[in-house]
Symmetry: C2
Subunit: 247 residues, 2 copies
């Protein structure tokens, strides 16, 4: 019997062991489930909000625009993630959130989450930890964009998404869902669409990945990790992920 909250619990358990009581508290959070069309804005920059949402199905992302209209996508969110947990303690959003596919989200009122936190320091801990892992991913992306070549950036992000999907059980035969346009991918790694296209072709040419119809298949994990200079430590999964980690 699968409840919407299950995917969230699966994610939380992937980063920390939870007591039965804490799991019950979290499972008891009221959650309103809604489905959105591809490209719908969930929260806009500058907005205030009374809920946090978790991704149940599909892919979401945050975004920021610069003064001259460029867009950065600082992060992507897979099922089980809680993108705007930050709104729990920061009054206005410094970034917007939107779904990058048709997606189903679960909304939980701030009030209920605060109550759950004050009932258990363990619940506080795991949610805090979620936000800290988000920050760790930002640091890694900063390093990725700031220091690595474009091909390494791409390989790195493909590895990361693999491990994150795997942590919630959504990798099937080395394949996972990656329904991004090359434009969006470019906005995520700080390069132009045209250049993304060429470098993706390079990765395909080297037989490292197969990417079509919004699904990415890793053909050679060892080499992809090597090219992407990838080490999953920054994802802070409690049990290191099987495939990607074994060296």
């Amino acid at each position: 019997m699968s409840e919407p909250v299950d995917i969230l619990l699966r994610r939380l358990k992937s980063i920390m062991s939870l007591s039965d009581r804490d799991q019950e508290i979290i499972a008891g959070l009221p959650m309103e489930v809604k489905t959105f069309a591809d490209g719908t804005d969930i929260v806009r920059e500058g907005q205030r909000t009374e809920h946090c949402f978790t991704v149940l199905e599909g892919l979401a992302g945050s975004y920021k625009f610069t003064g001259d209209g460029n867009r950065q996508i600082p992060s992507l969110y897979v099922p089980g993630d809680v993108p705007d947990l930050t709104s729990l303690h920061l009054s206005h959003m410094d970034t917007g959130y939107r779904v990058l596919t048709r997606a189903t989200l679960g909304f939980m009122p701030h009030r209920a989450i605060h109550e759950a936190c004050s009932m258990s320091y363990g619940v506080t801990g795991v949610l805090w930890r979620v936000t800290l892992i988000d920050a760790a991913i930002f640091r890694e992306w900063l390093t990725n964009i700031g220091q690595r070549s474009t091909i390494a950036r791409l390989a790195h992000i493909f590895c990361e998404m693999y491990v994150r999907y795997e942590a919630v059980g959504l990798v099937d035969g080395d394949t996972y869902s990656l329904p991004l346009t090359q434009q969006e991918l470019g906005d995520a790694i700080g390069t132009s669409t045209v250049h993304v296209n060429r470098v993706v072709q390079e990765l395909r040419g080297r037989k490292l990945i197969h990417w079509a119809d919004g699904r990415l298949k890793v053909l050679n994990m060892m080499d992809l990790i090597e090219v992407g200079d990838f080490d999953p430590a920054y994802l802070h999964l409690s049990h290191a992920s099987p495939k990607a980690v074994s060296e």
Copy 2:
């Protein structure tokens, strides 16, 4: 009568109003004060730690190395900041921390911080908020590095440091301490040292800044903000900072 913990309190109050009781709890945290020579490593990547530290004097930074030896400095920390608060909930560090000048730091045991948090959800809230603001700064830097021109990146970081120093009362006559080498600055904004040098000269040539002897003076804040596409909202200061914000 000035205690070491005062600067921390000043910082916390700049982002959230604190009840008297919460201030007392924080002021009561045991803090061991130590001074370090320029360039000392405080925590290394992969390490575990039993303390968090706050910067009392000087400048600290985090750093990550890529496989081929490039360094990224994902963040800088001014007095009042608590760089490794993340260690409270993540077992190993995914980044190193080092002081970039001679610096004085205050170390607080995790145990004591956890105790303070479980005594008051307000204390939990403000510390959590500190980590969320760190994350917000990462997002902004990501946007900065990913989307803005080099001159904008530099102007942006100069603005940010101004506002952050000002929030803890350390700006004096539009001047603040910025004892970075151009190399370090390059590692922070993802460009080469040589290019940093040329772009700094461009900013000097435009009479926007004066930077010498480790101190940066803003000569024309309006234009610097304009060039840097800077908006301090992401710093989430509770009372918007006077100078930088007035448009």
